[in-house]
């Protein structure tokens, strides 16, 4: 850290930022904002614009009550397990047949404890079947349960026009407007739907070439390659880029696809704290100083895996600092822009444009078309040598079926719309609308006093609920008010930090956002509204302080 500060002596603002920034959201240290206006330097330094992230900690009583709720749930879980074992209650779980009871058990009882006893009670909030396009509003099929969520049945009715705060529809391209989808209808007529082959055999269509050229032009890089599935893009391509003898430095909160790809590759994986540049720098310095574990040889390659926007936290990666680190320590950077492509940046080109940086600084640009472009699939872009290498060596290219033509055409038309190549300014309007909606929604939630994680410019808005009882109650009450939200709990988040994740879309009108915001269920449920949040720059409590307060 000392060396890094001395290096950047010419820009004092950046050094200060490096020491101030990067607090882990779930750590015990109080989260604090790393905003430039505290230093008073706005044009110098690595960051050309203010970088405001919030990871406030809730007061002590919230943590106590959360654990109390989990404690009650656990006690009753044991009680129910006991009753099931005794036979006092019918067992709806999978179990072996009578004849197989003496064999090696098929089902591990304890591992499913959480699923059986806590998840089952609120299971009706997930896997809800949708029967329309997931635009700003959608239709749900109504389903009820007779035996406390073990089985569901459909009543046959649909709930119409539910406001959609859960779909990754950032630019609103999930639409059914016939005019907009005219080119798709033509492509469907000409090509059909199936490709029936892999990319290397007979599945290389001219639509794919057209799409790849367009993606390369969109991102301002030399070349790009598209794949049929976003998850597979990560998990199948990282093994072709790194192998044994290489080092992967991966962020704490990376997506499962990145983790899977890293593990499949066989390289050594080291984790650095979320968005924490000191932690990353320490790992880099150790890697270069000490080399591989036993032989002390230099690492063949060091690859840093980060995401543009982290979907559970809503935080944006500190790209300028990472690029500075990577240049200094000669590592490679793999940036997964699944949620940020199309959603941030003045013209929707992702985090690279958001920070005003050169796309050549990032070695591997990866992204998906699922979120902002209303289609499916992923891409990897970068230098021509890299893309040519992946065309021959990637598992996904050799074995997986390539993208189907109507989906490719949907991406082409939405990307042309965003770039303005279709002759209208609709794309730019959508990007601007998304930015406005995001800032409005976040600002209002902050004003109401809720704890909302993440960067001010990220369209993913996690609202913290903390207590397990509130997870189910929040989702159900919102559905009663015709608003569909996604709630997340353990194990996707830390156990005491369950949240409701809103995804703001360019297609939301201000009335819809106001309806969501003023749904009095929000105030009713989250008691933290007046207590914890209080103001924009909230008071943060250290654990020590809280203990003293409790016992004084």
């Amino acid at each position: 850290v000392m060396y890094f500060q001395r290096e950047e002596r010419g820009r004092p603002g950046s050094a200060h930022l490096c020491t101030e920034g990067g607090s882990s959201p779930s750590g015990l240290k109080g989260g604090h904002t790393a905003s430039l206006h505290k230093n008073g330097i706005s044009n110098g330094g690595l960051y050309k614009r203010p970088f405001n992230e919030h990871f406030e900690q809730a007061p002590m009583y919230v943590a106590v009550l959360t654990y109390l709720g989990f404690g009650v749930g656990t006690i009753f879980g044991y009680l129910r397990d006991f009753m099931r074992a005794c036979g006092l209650e019918s067992c709806n779980l999978a179990a072996e047949r009578e004849e197989q009871k003496d064999f090696v058990p098929l089902y591990q009882d304890f591992e499913n404890f959480y699923t059986r006893n806590l998840y089952m009670r609120i299971r009706d909030n997930w896997n809800r079947p949708i029967c329309s396009v997931p635009g700003p509003q959608f239709d749900l099929m109504e389903r009820v349960t007779d035996d406390f969520n073990w089985t569901f049945r459909f009543t046959g009715r649909t709930i119409k026009d539910v406001i959609n705060m859960g779909s990754y529809n950032y630019l609103g391209f999930a639409e059914t407007d016939a005019n907009a989808l005219k080119t798709l209808a033509d492509v469907l007529q000409n090509y059909g739907t199936g490709v029936c082959s892999t990319r290397q055999e007979m599945g290389n269509l001219d639509k794919h070439i057209e799409l790849e050229n367009l993606v390369a032009r969109f991102l301002d890089v030399e070349a790009a390659m598209v794949f049929g599935m976003g998850f597979a893009t990560n998990s199948m391509n990282i093994p072709s880029l790194v192998g044994k003898g290489c080092l992967i430095l991966s962020d704490e909160l990376n997506h499962t696809s990145l983790v899977l790809g890293a593990r499949l590759s066989g390289a050594t994986i080291r984790i650095f704290k979320h968005n924490n540049m000191q932690s990353l720098e320490k790992l880099l310095r150790d890697a270069i100083a000490y080399g591989q574990p036993r032989s002390r040889r230099a690492w063949k390659k060091i690859l840093i895996l980060v995401e543009g926007i982290y979907s559970m936290e809503g935080s944006i990666v500190r790209l300028p600092e990472i690029v500075a680190l990577k240049k200094r320590y000669k590592a490679y950077l793999y940036l997964d822009e699944a949620h940020s492509i199309g959603a941030v940046g003045p013209t929707g080109r992702g985090v690279v444009e958001y920070f005003g940086m050169d796309p050549e600084d990032v070695d591997v640009l990866m992204g998906t078309f699922t979120k902002s472009f209303g289609a499916a699939g992923g891409y990897i872009a970068g230098k021509k040598e890299l893309v040519d290498f992946l065309r021959t060596h990637s598992h996904s290219a050799i074995y997986a079926t390539s993208m189907c033509p109507p989906v490719a055409e949907q991406i082409i038309r939405s990307m042309k719309c965003v770039m303005g190549l279709d002759g209208t300014t609709q794309g730019l309007q959508r990007v601007r609308q998304l930015g406005e909606n995001t800032r409005y929604f976040r600002r209002r939630l902050h004003e109401m006093g809720f704890i909302v994680y993440g960067n001010d410019d990220s369209p993913v808005v996690p609202l913290l609920l903390y207590m397990p009882g509130k997870i189910g109650a929040f989702a159900r009450r919102m559905l009663d008010k015709n608003i569909g939200v996604v709630v997340v709990g353990f194990p996707a988040t830390p156990i005491a930090e369950s949240r409701a994740r809103f995804c703001v879309s360019a297609a939301h009108t201000r009335e819809m956002l106001d309806t969501v915001r003023t749904a009095d269920v929000l105030v009713k449920l989250t008691s933290d509204a007046r207590g914890a949040g209080r103001s924009y720059k909230s008071v943060t409590l250290n654990l020590n302080n809280s203990f003293c307060f409790c016992f004084s």
Binding site: G69, V72, F76, R121, F148, M467, G469, A473, K524
Partner: protein, 72 residues
Amino acid sequence: MAVKRLMTYLYWLYYQYKLITCSELMVPCEKLVFYTVIVPMFAVIVYTVYIFITMQINLAFRFFLLVFGIHG
């Protein structure tokens, strides 16, 4: 009007209590167990602790008074 606000506030408190103790998530037989066994048990523990602590403080106070009474 004030009564209405008070009732709303009390209902809100009661709802918070239900949320925190996950009472909404319980099946009826669990609610029965909760309200007849666990809550009275907890109340008895709190009452016992309350009596115990005050008695100890009382004893300690009298002890110190005795000690300082001799010196003073």
